[in-house]
Symmetry: C2
Subunit: 325 residues, 2 copies
């Protein structure tokens, strides 16, 4: 029997943000309880086309399926009117190896699962009733991070910083449409972001040098560090991490690819200084925030189990709607 092919539109029509947050939350627990199998990613680098493809796979013991994700970034694509993100997820039956569903998601499910991870982290680590958010970055992930955050926090004011003022304005327009009640303000530089009583800072840029200085981070702030997901990427001053309770998605992965890599190489932290992994906090094996004044950082690099969880969610939902199994 051939696999079911889901096109991007089919997939987008099935998604419910609150449900996604739920399945991603559970996936972190699967990972941190050691039930996940995630082989080393395969990288295909096509330098002549500024392109790269990463194959990431994941299986969780007891799961009906495993997932192979093909995720590409081809950075000249926008010049010819194409998205730089491309790719698909493939769900395969664990018992037989039969491909059951091919999700032609063009990188969108990765965007959603990454944004949902930020919401899950804030749920466990930010102060309850957080109202003021600073978002650093104006791209698709910076948008989705806030859209997901709005589901779990009573955000009232959003401060936005972007390298390009034009893009920052577009960003504001987009978010205002999504959330008319939200008060949105552009901050021109990080100095303007000081002393604003911000509760949550979200960074979601491809930066390779720190954008957020330590003096912007007031007491009690939670930071979602989303952008740094490969060696060299860097958004936060390393001293923010050393002064904070640091929670990772995967400490092993963050040591190489997350913000943590820079805190380690700068010598301001050791791996043992990491408080724990998000899955451990969710499953109550590690404490989350235990003081309204402490600073917390969630270092996100992205896990194969999140891909498996969201692909499975979409396929299950498709089957439910279409009464297949």
């Amino acid at each position: 029997m051939n696999p079911i092919i889901l096109e991007k539109e089919d997939i987008l029509n099935l998604l419910d943000f609150d449900e996604i947050i739920g399945v991603i939350e559970k996936s972190f627990v699967d990972f941190s309880t050691g039930k996940a199998l995630m082989p080393t990613p395969q990288d295909i680098i096509l330098e002549e086309f500024k392109g790269e493809t990463h194959v990431k796979s994941a299986y969780v013991k007891g799961s009906k399926y495993y997932c192979i994700k093909i995720a590409s970034g081809f950075y000249d694509n926008p010049k010819i009117g194409l998205n730089s993100s491309q790719g698909m997820m493939i769900l395969i039956e664990a018992k037989t190896g039969l491909p059951k569903c091919i999700l032609l998601e063009e990188g969108q499910l990765t965007d959603f699962r990454t944004a949902a991870a930020g919401a899950v982290a804030a749920k466990y680590l930010a102060n309850k009733g957080s109202e003021k958010v600073l978002v650093v970055g104006t791209g698709i992930q910076a948008k989705l991070q806030v859209e997901f955050l709005l589901r779990i926090m009573p955000i009232k004011i959003l401060f936005v910083w972007g390298r390009s003022e034009e893009k920052a304005k577009d960003y504001c327009k987009h978010l205002q449409t999504k959330s008319p009640a939200l008060e949105i303000k552009i901050v021109k530089n990080m100095n303007e972001a000081r002393n604003l009583a911000i509760d949550i800072i979200v960074t979601a840029t491809p930066s390779r040098k720190p954008l957020v200085p330590k003096n912007v981070v007031e007491k009690g702030v939670h930071l979602n560090a989303i952008g740094a997901d490969m060696p060299g990427k860097h958004e936060l001053d390393a001293n923010i991490l050393s002064a904070a309770k640091v929670i990772t998605d995967s400490t092993a992965q963050c040591s190489k690819s997350g913000e943590l890599q820079h805190a380690l190489s700068a010598g301001v932290m050791k791996v043992n200084d990491v408080h724990g992994e998000l899955g451990e906090v969710i499953s109550n094996n590690k404490k989350g925030r235990d003081d309204p004044e402490e600073i917390t950082v969630f270092d996100s690099t992205g896990l194969g189990v999140q891909d498996l969880a969201i692909a499975r969610y979409v396929f299950d939902k498709y089957c439910e709607v279409n009464k297949e199994n």
Copy 2:
């Protein structure tokens, strides 16, 4: 634009064995001239289900596409009426990362490209006019090896050995239907295979200990060693290799996964004793057979470029038939 999905039946209807031999021949040259990019395969091992999935990718500089192959073996599948081989190939546009074609081939194209490699090797290494073949093994690959060989050699007599006599009989029936003029005989053991003036020996089993002793290999024989394609697999007495001109598909890969691994670990050969790679012989950078009495061995482990070549061939043919591009 979504990729074209080709189901197994569509694919099988497009194939022409002679054309496949041609594209596989060319792929070996691409590999040996260093134009190929083949990242380390990704392995997903599901021990609880006796299942394994390997992700193999390949790109050839200048090619319009690259290929990602998902190839699975789930060895309990036959118990529930399913093939143990499962999987697909995905052709992706090199310039943009856009998936162009998903070939739901369930491992069949791997079978065909592997069999075609045997024919190409025999074309360059066996004596012209070879008439007598001994095939060791009775599975799908043992069948296809002979079917492809028949395209390039005037085979008259086929000797078959298999562990199970019943399967050997089924094998004969299958080949007789495909090639009514062929004389087919079962040999009960390797002793019976001696002094039969055999020209070509093909081994295509999953054996982990040598099946072919040196005394079966007469002067002038060419051997296609197909079965050994991972550490531990083993079909030929290592002394056959040390007495022969050894040509590999990839010397680096055969050193770890082919017959060569055993000749090296037994100390009867060094890597430098390998005569060359098949691509070097095809492109005339290394001599093939230059004496009718010499013994030649082709050590086949399977290359990603062969997957790319056959997937590309099928997709091009589909486009030609359907006037797409």
